[in-house]
Structures are given as structure tokens and as C-alpha cells.
């Protein structure tokens, strides 16, 4: 009987220990949930700060790409301007040789097309310049 009582007491102790361990596990799991929630907040904060830190970099890169677009457009602008000058010269030659009507048609069509092409390239370069100026201004604000 004594042995049985002792064994039962041991069993009781084990159950109590188990209960305590379960309580500990529950508290720990609760802590884990709390830590995860803090972590999510920290991650969100990091994302926001990272986004903020990247802003000046993105703007600086935008200045760079816009200037590159302007530089990239110079060759095509020169080519298109040469084409327009060639067509203008041809129209002058046609007019000088008496072909007034043909020359007028050239001015109205081929020459006009060539000039529109230069204007279109100029428009691209102007837009790139505006982008560069806007980004540089925003950069100045960021740095202020």
C-alpha cells in the first residue's frame, strides 16, 4: 500500500510537472506570438525607411537617365537636321531650276516631314530635360 501510495504520489508529481511545463509552453507560445507581432511592425518600419532611403537614390538615378536620354538624342537630332537641310537644299535647287510648283510641294511635304521629325526628337529631349530638372529639384529638397 505504501508503495502504491508513493507511486501514485510520483504520478501526481509528474502530472503537476507536466501541467507546469504546459503552462510554460503556453506562456512561451504567447511570447512568440508577441515577438512575431513586434517583428512584423519592425519589418514594416524597415520597409518604410528603406523606401525613404531609396528615394534620393531613385531621384539621383532619374537625373542620370534623363541626361543620358538627352545625350542619346543628340546624334539622331543632328542626323534628322542634316536630312532636313538636304531636303531644303533640294527644294531650293528645284525652285531655282523653275519648278516652283514642285518646290512648293517639296516644302509642304518632304521638308515638313523632316522638320517634324527634328521637332519630335526635340520634344523628347525637352521632356527628358524637364524630368531631369524635376528630379534635381526634388533631390535638392531631400538634401535640404
Amino acid at each position: 500500500v505504501t508503495l502504491a501510495v508513493l507511486v501514485l504520489a510520483g504520478a501526481g508529481y509528474c502530472f503537476v510537472t507536466a501541467q507546469r511545463a504546459d503552462d510554460r509552453a503556453a506562456a512561451t507560445r504567447h511570447d512568440v506570438v508577441r515577438l512575431r507581432s513586434i517583428r512584423r511592425r519592425v519589418e514594416a518600419q524597415t520597409e518604410r525607411v528603406s523606401h525613404e532611403a531609396d528615394e534620393p537614390i531613385g531621384l539621383a538615378e532619374k537625373v542620370s537617365t534623363s541626361i543620358s536620354r538627352i545625350l542619346g538624342a543628340t546624334g539622331p537630332v543632328i542626323d534628322a537636321a542634316n536630312t532636313a537641310e538636304d531636303r531644303l537644299g533640294h527644294a531650293v535647287d528645284v525652285a531655282n531650276s523653275g519648278g516652283i510648283a514642285a518646290a512648293r510641294s517639296l516644302y509642304a511635304n518632304e521638308v515638313a516631314d523632316a522638320i517634324r521629325s527634328v521637332q519630335s526628337l526635340l520634344g523628347d529631349a525637352q521632356r527628358a530635360l524637364n524630368d531631369a530638372r524635376t528630379a534635381a529639384l526634388q533631390l535638392a529638397v531631400q538634401g535640404a
Binding site: 507560445r29 512568440v32 517583428r39 534620393p56 537614390i57 509642304a108 535638392a140
Partner: protein, 612 residues
């Protein structure tokens, strides 16, 4: 009696059963508690990691703002020069439109007046275009000093993309094994950044970019490549930048907060006791690498990094990748081709280095022949050009040697810092990377130093070492030493270092910086890798395009030739210009070869050339 005994027996059995159940319940509960505790431990570590990340990100933000303040003037200069170009284009367009109107109206006088006007302003656009070169170069180099934003995503065993900053890029943090031989052991982190293809319908898969160094950030390189690679490449490929292990945003090597002792002029002082003290400071600094970086130092070899690239490939879920590597990145690319030839779709190795000399001791000593030759050429050219700021009555060479000797004996004060011989030589090396284009900058900096102003040369050396204005360093230099020291063949021993310091003798050109860059390896707290891959042929890989610049002093053309010869499928393209590497520098011939190769898969014939 018997019944009583039976009852007692039963009670005992029941009690034992209860005990067993209790023990089992306790064990299970303890296990649950242990599991929860382990989870909590991981969560605490992860939170600490995330908090550190947040602190770093905040410091990135401060650094980005400070950098932007610093180069605001450069941005305005570039934009103003861009405005001059557009104004010249506007004026040209206006004259052409007026010519058309005058011609159509048969206004001959008006027409001729405008033709005269056109002729008078004939060179305006070309002049404006030339005028933007200097401010745009200044701006581009300032852009390079901006820190890269940190990836805010969670660290995972698989790729989980999150938005990367404000730039439309994406990033992910991938956990990989520290040691290939222990795939389930300690983990390190790789940060991967992706720039999705502009035309996703016609996407040709990932194009991995590595800028070399070793130690340079592939993420920073990806941002630059996004601005400089040909449009067709940006349309068709997802650009992928993986900071290699030890570098930048991947688990970084860390040795010390202050790396100035590595370049202390005391290392070349006339007094041997001063030199020995300076050497001890280098040794202490290097010991800090073991304290701060621990086991990572033993696993920074190129083979491990190549395996990391393949882990990223697998995590991306693709069978084959394309690769664009520069300088040391060509060695990394050839190791990848050797280990994973069937996972390579295409590879461009720009600024190729011979695999058997990829990381020998000469790579640590910029006084190597070609850099010395480039410096001699620059000084000779300056001597014969009376407008060169360092002309020195036609003897720039002698003036240079005298200046270096003076700096060795009496370093120049630059604010709270000093410019000694080693840092001055490092500034010189920095300009050699840019080739002839950067010679005016070098000569101006030397002329300033000769007049007692060391700031320009010091700024050049800071650009090389990644030293920021607040005295902190990026991790480029630590990562460079860490990779080089575990791979370098002919690594100096402690005894070598002590002997060099004891018997310094007279230093030749670039000897001081050669010595300073070599010394840390003598004390490096990790062994040289036992079997680095040096003899490789990339058997089974598709054609590999190797590019070399005929006038590259950093990775001379002979290295590119040797690399193309070593690779079974290597095709050499020579760019007949100078500077270090060429892809992304806007050379039309090289761009065409790159696009044709990457997009169509057609490599140029071996031995093809592109004019400068």
C-alpha cells in the same frame, strides 16, 4: 487474504500505470515547452536581427541624405549642361522651321539670312555635347557614392520577393549553408535584387551581374547596369544582382570600424620602430576580423560563391541563367561555367583575367607592371603638354617621384587627416581604372598636392577604399582582403611582413600601396583554400564571350586572351580602347555584340575587334 493481496497488487499496478502516464505526460509537456522555448529563441534572434537591420536602414537613410547634399551641385551642373544641349537643339529646330517657311514663301533674302545664321551656329550642338562630359562624369562618380538601400524582406530558405525601395526593383533574402560540406549546418544570408525585364512577354530569363573586386556589391552594380546596359538587354532580361557572401547586404565580413591603420604612413616611416608599431596596429585590426566575422572567413572562396549563385538559380526556379561578370567577376563566371556548365545559357566575361593568375599576389599589388606603365605614360604625356597642370617644366616624372618622397617623409595635413605616400598612391591607382579619360583628374590632383593641398588625392583614395566622409567604411575593402587572402597564391607570411617592414629600403613607384595592401594577408586569421579552381575549361558550357580592352592596365588584354584560350567555348572580343572593362560604356560596336550574343545567342567570331 488472497483477495487483499490481489487488490493491493491491482492498486500497485494502477499506481505504476498512473506513474507511467504521468511520466509520459511530463516528457511530452517538457518537449512542448522545449519546442516553444526554441521557437522563442529563434523569434528573439530574428527580432534582434530585424532591429539591427532597421538601425542599418536608418543609417542608410542618413547616409543617402548626406550624399545627396554633397552632390547636389554636381546634379545641377549636369542638368544645366543638359539644358544647354536642348537649347542648342531648340535653336537649330527653330532655324530649320523658319527656313522652310521662308522657302515656301519664296523669301530669298530671308532664306539666305537664316542660312547665314545656321552657318554661324554650326558647331553649337557639338560644343554643348562636349560641354556636358565633365559635369556628367562628375555627377556619375558622385552617384556611385550613394549607399544601396537595404532589403526589407524576411529571410527565407526560398525566394520571397518584396519591393526594393522606391525604385521599382524587387529584393529577397535567401538563407544558404555557410559550409558546402555541412548543408544542414550554420546558415548565412544572400541578398538578391531583381530588375524585371521591361518586356515580360519576351523575357529571356535571368541575367546575373557581378562587378568583381572581389568585394564589390552586385546590387550596386545592378543599379548602374539598369542605367547603362543596352535597351534591348533591359527589355529581354530580368537583371539579377546577388551580393556575394561576405559582401554588402549579404552576410558581410566585418573587421573594424576604422580601417585607417591599414594605410598609415607609419608603415613606410624612416624609423623602423615606428614602422613596427604601425605593423602591430595592422595585425590587431586583422585579428578583429576573426572576432567579428568568425567562421565566415574560412568560407569566402570563389567556389563557394559560385555555388551560391547556383542556389539562387535553383531558388528562382530556372534551369539556365545568363551571366555578365566584370574583372574578378570573370573569374567567378568561369568557375561557375566549370562547375555548372549545363546551367549556363550565355556568359559575358568583361575585363577577363587568366584563371591561373586570377588571385595571385600580384592582384594585391597595384605596382604591377601594367599599372606602373600606365602611370609612366600619363606622366610622359603630361611632361610634353605645357597645359597639363602637373607639367612641372616638362619633367612630370621627376616631380611625381619627388612629391611621393615628400609625402612619405612629411605627410600633408588635410583637415584632421593626413595624406601620406600610400594613400597618395592609392589615389593614383584609382584613376588608372578610368584610363586616359581620368588622366586630367589625376594630374590636377597631383598639382594640388605639389602645392600643399592633398584633398583631391585623398578624395580619390577614399573612392578606392570606400571610406565615407564620416570616417566609416563600406565593406568593400574588408571583403576584398577577405576573399583575396583566402585564395591568393603566394600569400606572404608573418615573417615576410616583419622582414619587409624591418628592411624597407628605398621605395619605387606604387611600392608603398602595394606593401600596405599585402600586409593584412600576412596575419589573416583563416587559411588559404586547399584546392582553388585554377585550371578550368568550362567543358560543356555554351559559347562564352570574353571581352578585353587593348589598353586596360588593371586587367591587361593578355589575361582576357588567356581566359578565352582556357575556356573550351571561349570567344575573344577585343575593344581597342583603354580603361577597365567596356560593357555599358556606350560603345556601339560592343553594345551590338553584347545584344546579338545575349539575345540571339550568336557570339562574334573569336578574335573579333571593336574600335574605340
Amino acid at each position: 487474504m488472497k483477495r487483499g493481496l490481489l487488490l493491493r497488487g491491482c492498486a500497485l499496478v494502477l499506481a505504476v500505470a498512473a506513474l507511467l502516464l504521468g511520466l509520459q505526460a511530463r516528457d511530452r509537456a517538457e518537449h512542448r515547452a522545449d519546442t516553444a522555448a526554441a521557437l522563442e529563441d529563434r523569434a528573439r534572434h530574428a527580432l534582434a536581427d530585424d532591429r539591427a537591420r532597421l538601425a542599418h536602414t536608418r543609417s542608410d537613410l542618413a547616409a543617402a541624405r548626406a550624399a545627396v547634399r554633397d552632390f547636389g551641385a554636381a546634379a545641377n551642373g549636369a542638368v544645366s549642361a543638359g539644358g544647354t544641349i536642348v537649347d542648342a537643339e531648340g535653336a537649330l529646330t527653330d532655324r530649320l522651321a523658319r527656313l522652310q517657311a521662308a522657302g515656301a514663301a519664296e523669301d530669298i533674302d530671308g532664306y539666305n539670312r537664316i542660312v547665314d545664321e545656321l552657318r554661324a551656329h554650326d558647331g553649337d550642338l557639338e560644343a554643348a555635347t562636349r560641354g556636358i562630359e565633365a559635369p556628367f562624369d562628375e555627377y556619375s562618380s558622385a552617384l556611385g557614392s550613394l549607399p544601396t538601400a537595404r532589403c526589407a524582406g524576411p529571410r527565407r530558405a526560398s525566394i520571397a520577393w518584396v519591393a526594393y525601395g522606391a525604385s521599382g526593383l524587387q529584393c529577397a533574402r535567401l538563407a544558404v549553408p555557410l559550409d558546402d560540406a555541412a548543408p544542414h549546418g550554420a546558415r548565412i544570408e544572400l541578398t538578391v535584387v531583381r530588375r524585371p525585364a521591361d518586356d515580360p512577354q519576351r523575357d529571356l530569363g535571368p541575367l546575373f551581374i557581378n562587378p568583381g573586386g572581389p568585394g564589390l556589391s552586385a546590387i550596386a552594380a545592378l543599379r548602374v547596369a539598369s542605367l547603362t546596359l543596352p535597351d534591348e538587354v533591359l527589355r529581354r532580361f530580368d537583371l539579377i544582382g546577388v551580393d556575394p557572401r561576405g559582401v554588402g547586404q549579404s552576410t558581410p565580413v566585418d573587421c573594424a570600424d576604422d580601417l585607417d591603420p591599414l594605410f598609415a604612413n607609419g608603415l613606410v616611416d624612416a624609423d623602423v620602430a615606428v614602422r613596427r608599431r604601425a605593423l602591430r596596429a595592422v595585425e590587431q585590426l586583422v585579428q578583429g576580423c576573426a572576432t567579428r566575422s568568425g567562421d565566415l572567413l574560412r568560407h569566402l572562396d570563389t567556389v563557394s560563391t559560385a555555388r551560391d549563385l547556383d542556389r539562387v538559380r535553383a531558388a528562382l526556379g530556372v534551369d539556365r541563367i545568363s551571366y555578365l561578370g566584370f574583372s574578378y567577376g570573370t573569374y567567378l563566371g568561369s568557375v561557375y561555367a566549370e562547375l555548372f556548365p549545363h546551367h549556363l545559357r550565355a556568359a559575358i566575361l568583361d575585363g577577363g583575367v587568366a584563371p591561373d593568375h586570377a588571385l595571385d599576389v600580384a592582384t594585391l599589388t597595384p605596382g604591377a607592371d601594367d599599372v606602373g606603365d600606365a602611370l609612366r605614360d600619363a606622366l610622359t604625356q603630361c611632361s610634353s603638354d605645357s597645359t597639363c597642370p602637373f607639367n612641372s617644366a616638362g619633367n612630370a616624372g621627376a616631380a611625381y617621384d619627388a612629391l611621393m618622397q615628400r609625402l612619405q617623409e612629411h605627410p600633408l595635413a588635410v583637415g584632421p587627416r593626413t595624406l601620406g605616400r600610400g594613400l597618395a598612391e592609392l589615389g593614383v591607382v584609382e584613376t588608372v581604372y578610368g584610363g586616359r579619360e581620368e588622366r586630367p583628374q589625376l594630374m590636377t590632383a597631383l598639382a594640388h598636392a605639389a602645392l600643399g593641398d592633398g584633398a583631391p588625392l585623398l578624395a580619390l583614395s577614399d573612392s578606392y577604399t570606400g571610406r565615407r566622409k564620416d570616417g566609416s567604411y563600406s565593406n568593400e575593402l574588408e571583403a576584398n582582403e577577405a576573399v583575396s587572402c583566402v585564395e591568393v597564391s603566394g600569400r606572404p607570411s608573418r615573417h615576410d611582413a616583419e622582414r619587409r617592414i624591418a628592411r624597407l629600403g628605398t621605395l619605387g613607384r606604387l611600392d608603398a600601396i602595394g606593401l600596405m595592401l599585402e600586409l593584412p594577408c600576412a596575419f589573416w586569421p583563416a587559411p588559404v583554400v586547399a584546392h582553388p579552381l585554377r585550371h578550368l575549361d568550362g567543358a560543356g558550357a555554351p559559347p562564352i564571350l570574353v571581352i578585353g580592352n587593348a589598353g586596360d592596365a588593371i586587367t591587361p588584354i593578355a589575361g582576357a586572351r588567356a581566359l578565352a584560350d582556357a575556356l573550351d567555348s571561349g570567344r575573344l572580343l577585343t575593344y581597342q580602347g583603354d580603361g577597365h572593362t567596356v560593357v555599358g560604356r556606350g560603345n556601339a560596336c560592343v553594345d551590338l555584340a553584347v545584344v546579338t550574343y545575349l539575345v540571339d545567342g550568336t557570339a562574334p567570331a573569336d578574335g573579333a575587334t571593336c574600335p574605340a
